[in-house]
Amino acid sequence: MRTSVLSLSAAVLALVAGCSDTGGPAAGGAEPYKITYVQGMAGNPFFTSLTCGAQERAKELGVQFDAQGGKDYSPQSQTPILNGVIAQKPDAIVISPMAGEAMVPALSKAKAAGIKLVFADSVADDATLAVSQIASDNYAGGVLAAQTLAKQVGEKGKVMVMGAKPGISTTDARQKGFEDEIGKHAGITYLGPQYSESQPATATSKFAAVFAANSDLAGVFAVSTQEVEGVATGVQNASKSGAVHIVGFDTSDPILDDVRNGVVESLIVQQPLQMGVDAVTQAVAALKGETTTPKISTPFVVLTKDNMTQPDVAKFIYKTTCD
């Protein structure tokens, strides 16, 4: 029953991706390298930004580039896309793989076919498959979120985590980082996590229940955009914007509005654009037989209402389309 939806959306996405071919011919008349980026999911500002960075770098290096992604963040969506890309025999694949073992068989097939692999944003279980891995340390992002939230609540009071779905490696790592760090702040009581199942409405109702039971709730760490949107609605219904501090992760247009309106106080922002640039650089280096950097860790930026218009922060806001 899922399959038909998936193939339907895959067909639609393939159509979209087909339109976004951008690579130019390489200088010197040689056949240009072909690099395809397989996104974690299509139409997510984070992966769009990563695509933009990769596309820009590909243009500079004269590489033929395109990008494709599944309809949701799952191995079931990503596997058929990756298989389709392998069939087109690109020289290299940049991929934001689903973590764990799920993608390893398809990735091994790609490697066996002589395609160079670069992991961007996330890492599959067999790291030897990739010539380079570029990722933010999501655990460190969680630690940073805890430090930011602790500061905002004045090092005292009750805080909670609004998680996504247990079992997603990136959000799990953020939560773990947050929990480990928040435990070191003596004045803060950690109420534990709730999970939104990636549905904003569920995030709103679960936040409401926690807030009803803890009217002195001081802060919430919301692990990704769905949770931030849901919790922000719950806080606004309570007319508590500003009193309950929200630290979020990643950006989207509605959430940036919430930051401007003071409902969400800080966002931990990654640098997907840079990941895209690095990924294509590494892929081309591997194709030319040059040395690659096996592991690159991209840093975070803390975005607030006060700094969001400064160019050095604004440039990290995720793109919904490439320029």
Binding site: V5, V16, M41, T48, D72, D253, P254
Partner: protein, 337 residues
């Protein structure tokens, strides 16, 4: 059935339905009341706080509107898996329209509402045509439109959540309260629900819906235009999905693309939990209301009582299956007696 006239035909079915559903409804209401009582005693200050009740009702309103439409569809022995995607599609079209018109006035909001409703009706009618005329089973046709509606919404937005909901909309409908107490979203959902109940129980449309559900062939032979009726029913479900999309815009002040993937199953679960038969012919809107609120209240109460989060899912699943199982037992014993 074939020998009775059209006007008389549905009546025995309505009476039968009342007998069949009276008891499960009582039993379900009692279960819900018991849950509310337990949570109220265990955590009176949190569970019964105005904020908790208001927010729980507000968030559930959107699902309730979807579920009222779903009740009609399931009453015809059909199913509509596309409602969540149609909700997203309608919200996106509505918000895009309001953004294009610009400003934040009453007229803009009204135009947005009209677009949401029309978007919903278009998809619903398409579902109805596929089911009634093309004879594609409802499970498949609505699975197809579920993918297509979401896909188009993603194409339009590039998959990005949209902001820019007019202030007038989310500050009045989204955050506002009638007499400062009852959130407007709840009022709207209540109006839709009461209207749905009246239509199902008191009108020819409702009688035909149940008649078609208890046997399309019999209904056809009695002179009911079954195809047309099915198109209307799916159109109604689409319409309500459009309304729900508009309410969702008001509630979240944004159009969320990925956050409605389980709305369809939540609505089906609520309708079936409420005592509407998946095989058609038996349906109850009050039952659907209770079916929507049992999981919502359970989840809310569990979070307040700090029940470990994974158990919440298990418990809600068990309650769903158990409620339908007990309902089946009761039906069986009634049929024997």
């Amino acid at each position: 059935m074939t020998s009775v006239s059209i006007e008389e035909a549905p009546r025995p079915s309505a009476g039968l339905r009342r007998r069949l559903t009276a008891s499960p409804l009582t039993y379900l209401s009692a279960s819900l009341a018991a849950m509310i009582a337990v949570f109220s005693v265990a955590a009176p200050e949190a569970f019964l706080s105005a904020y908790n009740i208001q927010t729980m009702l507000t968030v559930t309103s959107v699902l309730l509107v979807l579920s009222v439409g779903m009740t009609f569809v399931i009453a015809t022995a059909g199913i509509d898996l596309s409602v969540g995607s149609v909700l997203v599609f309608s919200a996106v079209m509505s918000l895009r329209t309001m953004t294009a018109l610009g400003g934040s006035g009453f007229g803009v909001v009204l135009a947005g509402f009209a677009v949401a409703v029309v978007s919903g009706v278009v998809w619903g009618t398409l579902n109805g045509l596929l089911v009634a005329k093309a004879k594609v089973p409802a499970l498949i046709s609505t699975l197809g439109t579920m993918g297509a509606a979401l896909g188009i919404a993603q194409l339009v937005t590039g998959g990005n959540d949209l902001s820019g909901v007019p202030k007038a909309l989310y500050e009045t409908v989204g955050l506002g309260k009638l007499f400062g107490v009852v959130p407007w979203l709840v009022v709207i959902a209540l109006v839709v629900t009461v209207a749905g109940a009246v239509v199902l129980n008191q009108t020819r449309f409702g009688r035909y819906t149940l008649f078609v559900g208890s046997g399309a062939e019999a209904a056809r032979r009695s002179g009911i235009n079954v195809d047309l009726h099915l198109i209307k029913v799916y159109g109604l479900a689409g319409l309500l999905a459009g309304v729900a999309g508009f309410l969702d815009l008001a509630l979240f002040a944004s159009a969320n693309i990925a956050g409605h993937s389980t709305d369809n199953l939540q609505a089906v679960a609520a309708v079936v939990l409420g005592g509407t038969s998946l095989f058609g012919g038996v349906a109850t809107i009050p039952g659907t209301v209770i079916g929507v609120f049992i999981p919502a209240v359970l989840q809310n109460g569990f979070v307040i009582l700090k029940v470990q989060t994974f158990w919440q899912e298990v418990a809600i699943g068990v309650v769903l299956v158990l409620a339908v199982y007990i309902d089946q037992l009761k039906r069986k014993s009634r049929e024997k007696s």
